[in-house]
Amino acid sequence: MAQSPVPIGGPTAKSTFLDGLWANNPIFCQILGICSALAVTTRLENSLVMGVALIFVIAMSNLAVSILRHLIPRRIRMIVEVAIIATFVIVFDQFLKGYYWEMSKQLGPYVGLIITNCIVMGRAEAYALQNKTALSVIDGIANGLGYTVILAIIGASRELIGTGKILGYEVLSGNWYVPNHFFIYPPGAFIALGLLIWLIRAIRPQEDDSSQSGAGS
């Protein structure tokens, strides 16, 4: 993995934040969270709500895991992490069902599926178990933001190309723009995400790419 160098004396708030947002971004660096990034990015609004959900869940689960990190018995630590993550995911899902019904219907099962999102458990395992509480929360927010930014870019471009609109407002006039519906169908998601990852990796300063890990869900 393209791990950025950890400053001497352990991670600081700033290094943690930049790491999650850019240097070790969960989507384009670690290629995690791809399923949801493909599934919910038909519209910008959906992408943003999904991003908020992930920021909330990672921040809260990192907080809880970090507070309990000296107590959690090693042998059941993964079960503990999943239980904590699942609790926060269901809380968020219930919140959507109560206060944001239309969005809850559109996101369908994908909010519940955050429980199995590799990013969330990855951060609990890789960061919150070893680091102080405040830093863990920053790490969670940064990784959630890193995910959100990428989803927002894909969501905005798919909505714009596929329907000529952004957040439901017409941007490209129907008089001369013919919407390319291909981009709001699933194959369009693969192409949009693939192009974006390629673009970002092309403009990033070159790092050691030889030890790239495989994909996760």
Binding site: P73, V80, A83, T87, I90, V91, Q94, K97, G98, P186
Partner: protein, 200 residues
């Protein structure tokens, strides 16, 4: 030994805390969630009757419009026999689909035979194939067709794409034979159930 005991206690306490958090959240949200679900159900019925709703109508508006105009017929109001608006009728139609349950409504004109509208508001069929049953492109094919023949038997048939003719036939979706068969079955079942409740 001591550490295993701690592991068990830790698991129990964590489970208890998580369960408490979830129960509290669910109870807190419950009234709003149920209002949303009810409004959603009523909205589907209002749409079948083509009763206009204001853009972005709030839950209370939908529920009030429904209660003003629509009569629920049947002993069980959560699962009624049919709905009535003036002389128009809407029959609930549900049954298994290919991947999950399908729920829909069939709207009938005052003659009790001619279809005015059809909707499948809940389905999990294959996107792009069977999933197209929810789209207007498919549901509009039912408009003006007849659910019952002259003898009052369920007569509507979903036939191979492009073969439909007359008052009793509707084109299926190409590539979605299995979903079409399920839709056929649930429409016939709904029609039969409607006839049996009506004759009582």
């Amino acid at each position: 030994m001591k550490s295993s005991l701690f592991t068990v206690v830790f698991g129990l306490v964590l489970g208890l805390v998580c369960a408490l958090v979830l129960t509290a959240t669910a109870e807190f949200i419950k009234p709003r969630r149920e209002a949303n679900e009810l409004a959603e159900r009523y909205r589907n019925i209002l749409e079948i009757f083509d009763i206009p709703l204001a853009e972005g109508a709030a839950n209370q508006d939908i529920i009030r419009a429904f209660e003003d105009k629509v009569t629920i017929v049947g002993s069980d109001s959560a699962n009624p026999d049919y709905y009535r608006y003036a002389q128009f009728i809407a029959i609930p139609a549900q049954g298994p689909g290919l991947w999950g349950p399908i729920e829909g409504l069939i709207g009938l004109a005052p003659d009790g035979v001619t279809i005015t509208a059809v909707s499948f508001y809940k389905q999990e069929e294959t996107p792009g194939l069977g999933g197209e049953i929810a789209g207007k492109n498919f549901t509009d094919r039912f408009i003006g067709k007849k659910l019952f023949d002259a003898a009052g038997r369920p007569a509507l048939k979903i036939v191979r794409p492009g073969k439909a003719s007359g008052d009793y036939q509707v084109d299926a979706i190409s590539g979605a034979t299995m979903t079409s068969d399920k839709v056929q079955a649930l429409i016939t079942a709904a029609a039969e159930k409607f006839k049996s409740t009506e004759s009582n």
